[in-house]
Symmetry: C2
Subunit: 246 residues, 2 copies
């Protein structure tokens, strides 16, 4: 089903809006690209870089982050297959943050030139990609709310909830189970908590039966309950009702 590495991207561009025309799909599938395998914990681009290409996640997980002066890091978002985490570099020449892998990845690299040509030939696609970057921003807004307003318990539940719902939208869940190869340290960097407190809170979440999480695989026995604990409202993901709802 996903023989072409960009098929998942196409599927994403159609979420909660009209289907792409065949000509538009073809134009995307014909994009010149480089497929690359990248190990875990490698940077794709770094703060200060001036990229000349964009990255599409084909397989594996990535995150965007900023390094702090005191050596800490703030994770800004997680990325799953189908995402274009550095799409913004098309119009913001200098990276204001870094993009790296969390696990081994397969990525597709597409030059800015090819993307510019694509949206010149198919102007309607520009709006699709623009829309993607607006959803990106919507997720950032929710993360501000998450770190700014929720306690550790809800904050972690929220991150897990979002991860699950986004994975499900690209068909990467098996019922209530999904890959979650994220370390507690990474969760700490994403939520602005210490690793110790992440551990404490995760155990509470586990003890309350909201998640079963072992060796990189996570199951959500009762999604409604987890959502409630997380105060998770999927509207900010701007997916079609069927994808975002329980």
């Amino acid at each position: 089903m996903f023989e072409n590495p960009l098929n998942r991207l196409i599927r994403r561009l159609e979420v909660d809006t009209t289907a792409l025309s065949q000509a538009e799909k073809d134009a995307i599938l014909r994009l010149p690209m480089t497929i690359k395998e990248v190990g875990a914990d490698q940077d794709i681009v770094r703060e200060g870089d001036r990229p000349t290409q964009c990255c599409v996640v084909v397989e594996g997980f990535q995150c965007r982050y900023k390094m702090l002066l005191d050596g800490g890091r703030q994770i800004l978002s997680f990325h799953v297959p189908g995402d274009m985490p550095d799409l913004q570099s098309l119009f913001l020449s200098t990276m204001d943050h870094s993009l790296g892998t969390l696990t081994p990845n397969r990525v597709a690299l597409i030059s800015h030139d090819a993307l510019r040509e694509l949206i010149r030939v198919q102007p309607a696609l520009a709006e699709r990609f623009w829309r993607e970057s607006l959803i990106d921003a919507a997720i950032f807004r929710e993360w501000i709310t998450n770190v700014g307003s929720r306690d550790a318990y809800a904050r972690l539940a929220h991150v897990i909830c979002e991860f699950y719902v986004r994975l499900r939208a690209v068909g990467l869940t098996k019922d209530a189970t999904f890959d979650f190869p994220i370390t507690q340290t990474e969760l700490a960097d994403a939520t602005g908590l210490s690793t110790v407190h992440v551990n404490r809170s995760i155990q509470q979440i586990r003890a309350n039966g909201l998640i079963i999480w072992e060796r990189g695989a996570c199951t959500i026995p009762n999604l409604a309950a987890l959502k409630e604990a997380a105060m998770f409202e999927p509207n900010y993901l701007h997916m079609r009702e069927g994808n975002a709802a329980a």
Copy 2:
């Protein structure tokens, strides 16, 4: 200089990139719009709304925010003249947050139809507006970092720093002084702190001579010092060096 209410917007679209063509400028200035006066603390659009127009701030300050289940609110961003705080509604039909005034405002309302027609006729303008929404997202990223990684003192200093730099970029500062009619409660909602702790921390910032802030006017005697306290790096604003630098 700013006789047309959209002149400041045009100036913004040219920051850190090439100048607009005369035809592009004319197309923007000819946009059909409604000028409206709005009182302080009024909503422009609310979470759940499906707007049919976008708002340009002509005069006054606005903020975007989310209401929480427990009655609290998280402020997501501040907006100054020249901003289009709900530009995203052009492609995300349902608002995932609210937009409201902090002070009395003059706003220009432009229908989505007119904006779509504008970018159809002047496709290069689509990229300018797209770019604006990418900078918007960059600011959200910095706010995640702010609430996730900085202590109260730096967090507040950072918000003030950003406010000043953004105001200066649109010519709304007088040397080191600028309008800052934000209440401590609003600062608390923006930083995820309690009002009491905002008060404590602001007084420290004052005591250290980093700001002089009385009756809605703020002065920064030593911008370099404030930036350092805030760990403020203006790169995320993607302004031209001359605007962002000290």
